[in-house]
Amino acid sequence: MREPSFVERHLRVLFPLPAILFIALLMIFPILYTLALSFTSWNLTSGAPLRFVGLRNFEQVLTEPRFLDAVLRTFGFTIFAVLIEAVLGTAIALILNRAFIGKGLAKLLLLLPLVATPVAVGIVFNLFYDPTIGLANYVLSTFGLPQGLWVSDATSVIPSLIIVDVWQWTPMITLIVLAGLAGLSEEPFEAARVDGATQWQVLRHVTIPMVMPTILTAVILRLIDALKTFDIIFAMTGGGPGYASETLNIMGFKYSFEYFRMGQASVILIALFFFVLLCSLGIMKLRSSAEN
């Protein structure tokens, strides 16, 4: 047996090292940089030098109504969108979970929203929603319903954006649940059938409990992404009208790249980071408990 070389003995560290260094440099360092900036006052446009201001940015941002509204809005958008996606997505998966003509095509169609460019999706929906020429109002009017202003009105903008998110991401839940259903073992179903369970009983007491872990993981993945939703909101409303659709991500973006108030922007980014981290810890906990 030959003596292992230096590289071979340390492969476990050497192989992932470039990737680790890359992520440390491009992700960990910038996050720490953001953290440090949050204690400073720095306006890139004014040319004034960076100043240490202690907790002043936190006091200012955390007590500002615009920020608190953005937090509530972010959670409202996320919870409603993901709840609808979870229920619809699971229901569609349960419907499609059998052999049928055109199943391959149906699954291909379900993939399309997931790979469609979100900015372009947002713009297409803006054409739908356009109050004067849009199809949405035409459909309403043919049913004799009053026409809406959709994304142009403060009260309807968030539901209108939720519809877009639901259209784009429900198929993700469906495909994940379908994959989960395909991996279930046959035995519990046969046992239930032998016991004379009705279709509904099988669904409620066997199928759903068995795919629940998969549904939960899919939901948490969606929660994390929905909290960060940026592209469709930015493209469709830019956070407007007024601040009516301004989520944390949009607000952080504006403070950073429109007002260039980097110190205050950092506080907003840290808040968003914190919420996403909480959800991420949830998913990791779920994974490790599923493995044990």
Binding site: R2, P18, A19, I31, L96, V124, I176, G180, S256
Partner: protein, 272 residues
Amino acid sequence: MRKKKILQEAVFYLAVVLISMVVLFPFLWMLSSSLKTQTDIIAWPPTFVFTPTLQNYHKVFGEQDFLKYFINSTVVGGLAVGLSLVLGLPAAYSISRFTQKKLALFILLARLMPGISFLMPWYIIFSRLGLMDTYIALVLSHMLIALPIVVWIMSSYFDSIPVELEESAMVDGATRQYAFWAIILPMSGPGIITSVTLSFIFSWNNFMFSQVLSMEKTRTLPIAVYNFVSYAEVDWGGVMAAAVAIMAPAIILTMVFQKFVVKGLTMGAVKG
């Protein structure tokens, strides 16, 4: 009894058609609007029957610098994915063979954390280094999208390759790194296709990073499409043609590699 069965089937297929229509409709509306004249688009009630025209496509590909943005998107995505494979394949191999779960989670963090919390510092740092509007800045940022996807997909792909393959080569005197290069990688085609397809699509669709880090020289397609609508009067036909042009490559990739894409998108959740 038979009647009931037929009715059930009819309801089922009706549901399938309905679901498919809802999914497909925005794409169809986008495509048909891209073939309409501005008069047809702003007509009320909306027109469903019209004479198709390619003028919007001529306009988009002719007057605008669309081809340049197309190339920019391809170059940035291609380089980001390629370099992510270079960094990600050995990392994924190490995670798989030495069961380094903590390391896997560390790299997954890059997929989970909000991009804007690195983007703001990048903006400051890249400005200082004079790297704004360069491929370097864009490729580095897009690598942070591609790398976690590559590592995540490839580490579970390597899990499915029996360890005995390298071990027997190593008994015969090959080094582990040689076995990885000469035995494992050539067997990893399906995994690599999955990770390349998915990470390229996500880079292709990325808006936020490119919006901040690119300007005229390196502008990518999503930014060009977005800029189309920021004019006072929206040229809907042109915008829809641009939207078709940007979605077409991702959709074609998805059709060609359907099985891989489904697997890549769903495996993380199902495994857990």
